[in-house]
């Protein structure tokens, strides 16, 4: 069992616990030594707890931390691994380098919370290389909380490779508080018989700017993918969605699905792109941008809610 605990400045741990909680996490899991976890505040590793089957290495850099995580061959990690990245101050820069490998036949679920509860001028960059080995499974759930001020600029970038028979499920959600500026950029290569599912849910308000770029290349025979995006934007927020799926191999199947609701002066653009250069591949898409369903709003108003309360409930349901 590898167990390292570094830089345990207790007040900082408390602050991160609180920040983790406001982002929707249960901070007790970060202190349970039976569970693998990693907590990074700014460029400090507050807690790095690997368990059997997981190799976890961290290196503090000037503005962040480089993380290397390997799920060893054949290990199926029974409980989720909890990750928390954050910055407590109002301003600052955090750069996370993530090198993740799920070796052949391994399985793991990563539950990440990224929290910047006081952000006024914060930049958070994540550069991730994810490797999902042959027949391996990676579930990655990432919940963000950027505080109420709209002062976060968050730039997650990932290059993902799914080997033959591998499965990769990514779930990104940023639905409470402000977004600030989000530039989400994921690029996935899917080999033979692999599965890739990416879901993003974002709620933008005031002058939030949301940019989502997701690309899947179905390189191997029978590779399958779904890109699903649910966006709600209101007031003066702007969103731009690009979901690209390329079908290069026989019997590869892909689908891009974007549903957006807009209110106020918000502006949305959704571009699903499908490219197919193999006649036996099939890639489909649907995109819809519209206002909140009138019947749903009126039903809730007929139960006594104000119009904006009704809209809020409907939008939160869509993003749940």
């Amino acid at each position: 069992m590898t167990q390292i605990t570094l830089n345990t400045l207790s007040s900082e741990i408390k602050d991160m616990d609180a920040a983790y909680s406001v982002a929707g996490g249960d901070s007790a899991v970060l202190h349970d030594h039976e569970l693998a976890s990693l907590v990074i505040s700014g460029n400090k590793v507050l807690n790095a707890n690997g368990i059997k089957g997981i190799v976890l290495e961290t290196k503090e850099t000037e503005h962040g931390v480089d993380v290397k995580m390997i799920i060893k061959k054949g290990y199926k990690i029974p409980l989720p691994v909890h990750l928390c990245f954050g910055l407590i101050p109002q301003d600052g820069l955090q750069e996370i380098g993530m090198n993740f490998v799920a070796e052949e036949d391994s399985a793991v679920e990563l539950v990440a919370h990224c929290t910047f509860p006081n952000a006024v001028k914060i930049i958070h960059r994540m550069e991730a290389q994810m490797h999902v080995g042959k027949n391996a499974l990676l579930k990655y759930t990432e919940t963000h909380f950027h505080g109420p001020h709209g002062g976060a600029q968050v730039i997650p970038k990932a290059r993902v490779k799914i080997e033959e028979g591998g499965r990769y499920y990514n779930n990104f959600s940023l639905v409470s508080g402000r977004v600030g500026s989000l530039e989400f950029d994921y690029d996935v290569d899917a080999e033979k018989d692999s599965i890739c599912e990416m879901v993003t849910k974002v709620y933008g308000k005031k002058d939030d700017k949301i940019r989502i770029m997701e690309k899947v290349s179905l390189n191997g025979e029978n590779a399958r993918s779904v890109i699903k995006s649910r966006l709600a934007i209101t007031e003066n927020a702007e969103s731009e969605f690009r979901g690209i799926t390329e079908g290069h191999a026989p019997r590869s199947r892909g689908h891009v699905d974007c549903l957006e609701v807009i209110q106020g002066n918000a502006k949305a653009e959704a571009v699903p792109i499908v490219r197919v250069d193999n006649p036996l591949a099939k890639v489909t898409h649907e995109a819809a941008i519209g206002c909140v369903d009138k019947k749903e709003v009126e039903t809730l108003m007929a139960r006594g809610l104000e119009e904006d309360e009704a809209i809020d409930i409907i939008v939160k349901g869509m993003l749940a």
């Binding site: 749903e296 009126e298 039903t299 108003m301 139960r303 409907i314 349901g317 869509m318 749940a320």
Partner: protein, 236 residues
Amino acid sequence: MLSRDGKKILRGVNLEVGDREIHSIIGANGAGKSTLAYTLMGLQGYEHEEGSLIFNGEDISKLSITERARKGITLAWQEPARFEGLKVRDYLAIGAKDNGGATEEELKEALRKVDLKPEKYLDREVGETLSGGERKRIELASIITMKPKLAILDEPDSGIDVVSLKEIVNLIQTFKENGSSVLVITHRKEIAAASDKASLMCEGVILRSGDPLEISEFFKNRCIPCDSRVSPPKAA
């Protein structure tokens, strides 16, 4: 009075629903029954144009949907909304919000009243996975928790299987027992028969009101199709 593209959809509606009265509205497809329900609820595009709309002595014709709902008026649609992602539990609780919220037991009881097993439905989503009939019952349940003074039910029987029709009739009676008045639009004799009073609607006009069985018979024998057997009433 309500017009669309210059055509008057509701032309002469003279209707009174008494305290704790079950009042059914019957009439042919396209007669204007749903339009009447929407106008009473004050939905957008169905604003009251002329005449008065009095609820418990107060003119409510200029009030918003929310204001009418807070006075105790509510509506169940002929085709309920879908609500992607909304949990049944949360939907049912909404109506009770202004009465201090609903207990877990009250939510379960509301589902039992519409013949749905609480343990099976409480944590499901209203939208995607439910059938049309199930969604309809859940909508009725969402009204039960609201304890309305006037429940407007637009064809609560449509999409409901015959076995459950009896439950719907019971439900309407429960509303009455709990102090609500019910205005129910229906094509079913069983529901009309359980009413205290009925009104017949034809081409935007309430032709006559009275004993439910008499009104049903009149409609069945002389009024179908509406425009050929009964000379169209003059615009009010």
